[in-house]
């Protein structure tokens, strides 16, 4: 590089020209991102800021924290948050319990069989979530298939209440979220060097020991990324609780929609929205600190 800078062809005016070129290049590249950036800003970010200011206005238009105070005081809001966290945590836990073993088996299958099974994971991933939720309604309702089968086989005599309640919502949510866990875990497992397990075995580790002290820690980044995506998406989930919860499972998102659609209470809805967004961003921030943002952003697609 030093030899270069002494190159007579790179005299001072030339260097200035190059610097100008570099700066122009930067502006052109920034310009290329401008259309997408302004669309996101105008359609989403600016209105959210607008809502945020709305949440700080009392009904008579003066500045106040009234809406936030109500969030703390009214027990019904507290229930919304508790239900939201219960659904999100349980969904994440069940998704790990079901998804991790499946990803583990898939990661060890021969390539052709694995890609066949992966289609079975990807297909629901890309099927409309409303269609999948409808399918669960068909299966779980009182006159639904599961109740009909159960009664026809004499397993139970009265139709079980499987849907329009907490458990129905949980089943549907787990079904929607599972692929978001399986895909990053599978990706991480595929990159684990198989000879490490070989080495562990040769050094005398039992299969369980080798798994827990070699394989599992190596798969942990994928598991963490998947679990965080599932948790974040569950926090803001609306469709499946609205349909399968039957009005009895009111997560924060459902409460926001109700506040707008039924009560036209923009202030309360905005305050709830701001709190939900803040909680989500805290989780995302913690995840980014823990894992790096690109890994989280690259691992999934939101429903």
């Amino acid at each position: 590089m030093r030899a270069h800078s002494k190159d007579p062809t790179l005299s001072a005016p030339n260097a200035a020209g190059l610097a100008l070129d570099a700066r122009r290049e930067r502006w052109i590249m920034l310009g290329l991102t401008a259309p997408a950036l302004s669309l996101v800003t105008i359609i989403m970010i600016a209105p959210i800021v607008w809502l945020f200011s709305l949440s700080l206005l009392a009904d008579d238009g003066t500045f106040s924290f009234e809406h936030y105070r109500r969030l703390l005081e009214q027990p019904s809001y507290r229930r919304n948050f508790i239900v939201t966290f219960e659904i999100s945590l349980l969904t994440t836990a069940i998704a790990i319990a079901l998804g991790y073993p499946l990803a583990y088996v898939l990661a060890q299958l021969p390539r052709r069989a694995a890609s066949l099974c992966l289609i079975a994971v990807l297909l629901p991933f890309w099927t409309s979530l409303l269609v999948r939720t409808y399918a669960w309604l068909v299966l779980l309702q009182r006159q639904g298939l599961i109740n009909k089968w159960g009664i026809a086989h004499g397993w139970w005599s009265e139709p079980l209440a499987l849907v329009h309640n907490f458990s129905g919502t949980l089943i549907g949510t787990v079904h929607i979220m599972l692929p978001f866990l399986i895909l990053p875990v599978y990706g991480t497992m595929k990159s684990i060097d198989g000879s490490l397990m070989n080495a562990a075995a040769n050094l005398g580790a039992s299969p369980a020991r080798a798994f827990w002290s070699v394989y599992f820690p190596l798969s942990l980044p994928g598991l963490m990324a998947g679990a965080l995506i599932v948790f974040i998406l569950s926090l803001g989930f609306y469709v499946t609780p609205a349909v399968l919860g039957g009005g009895k499972v009111s997560m924060v998102s459902n409460r926001i929609a109700n506040d707008i659609e039924i009560f036209f209470n923009w202030g309360a809805a905005s305050a709830l929205g701001v709190v939900l967004l803040t909680l989500t961003l805290i989780v995302v921030y913690a995840a980014a600190r823990l894992l790096g943002l690109s890994r989280i952003a690259g691992a999934g697609h939101a429903p």
Partner: protein, 272 residues
């Protein structure tokens, strides 16, 4: 059954001692795939009530779908919104991905983070924020409103796909073309684009599906003549379960599967 006593991995676990794991994996795979497919045979049922398997087959729910002005109108809206969203978000994401890839550094990271926020922000908040803005911009219940809102949800997905393709692409090829006298745009179109076309096709397909399957924002900003299929379905689900919905669900499953199969065929470079 000798297979059962063979080692399953480097740690000498036999397949036999891991049968429970295979059984669990099979159950989870079934849980993932089968429930959705239940709606397909149901859409061909002759009965008003939900039966599985149907005792009699018929196309009456397809007839009822094709005879309904509201459902057909909604189908048209959803396809139009999907197509237009693809046309808006794919080029914007491609431009942004190209710019960010050349730019790099701190600013690129910040812009990237802003562009992917629409999929991090809870979608209900996007829905009410967009609705609040549209009331003032007079865009509620308009096709353009749906397309703009769906585009911001599709851009992050398209951006991620194209950005990761550009990351593994050697940009110096384009520089060579330019040093040989090609205009920058020509160099991009002739050298870079053909090599990342698979990612661009995938991004386009995913943009379409993002719009086509989107429910929450559509609930707030679509309506009237411009109701989307998902909005009508969601409202119908809350009222009663009409088997016509099984028909529409089947059509939606077919649309997603065809698009994804297409993306798999044309959207993936052939491996040697």
């Amino acid at each position: 059954m000798r297979w059962l006593s063979r080692p399953a991995s480097a740690t000498q676990v036999t397949h036999g001692s891991r049968l429970w794991l295979y059984a669990l994996a099979a159950v989870v795979l079934a849980f993932l795939t089968l429930p959705t497919l239940v709606v397909v045979p149901m859409s061909f049922s002759a009965s008003q009530y939900l039966e599985f398997p149907p005792r009699q087959w018929s196309l009456r729910w397809y007839e009822s779908y094709l005879g309904s002005v509201a459902w057909l109108q909604a189908t048209r809206t959803s396809f139009a919104a999907g197509a237009l969203t693809t046309l808006v978000s794919t080029p914007l994401a491609l431009m942004a991905a190209y710019g960010l890839n050349t730019l790099r550094g701190r600013w690129a990271a910040i812009i990237y983070a802003v562009l992917v926020t629409p999929i991090i922000v809870p979608v209900i908040l996007v829905g009410i924020a967009v609705f609040y803005a549209y009331v003032r911009l007079n865009l509620v219940n308009s096709l353009m409103g749906i397309v703009l809102a769906h585009s911001i949800l599709a851009i992050p997905v398209a951006l991620m796909v194209i950005a990761s393709a550009l990351k593994s692409y050697d940009m110096s090829q384009e520089l060579v073309a330019r040093s040989l006298g090609a205009h920058r745009l020509k160099a991009f179109l002739l050298i870079t684009l053909p090599q990342i076309r698979f990612a661009v096709i995938t991004a386009a397909v995913l943009s379409f599906l993002t719009s086509f399957d989107e429910v929450v924002v559509a609930l707030f900003v679509s309506g009237g003549d411009n109701s989307t299929l998902t909005r009508n379905m969601f409202n119908a689900l809350r009222d009663q379960i009409d088997p016509t919905i099984a028909t529409i669900s089947t059509i939606m499953i077919v649309v997603s599967s065809l698009l994804l199969a297409g993306a798999q065929l044309f959207g993936r470079p052939k491996r040697p």
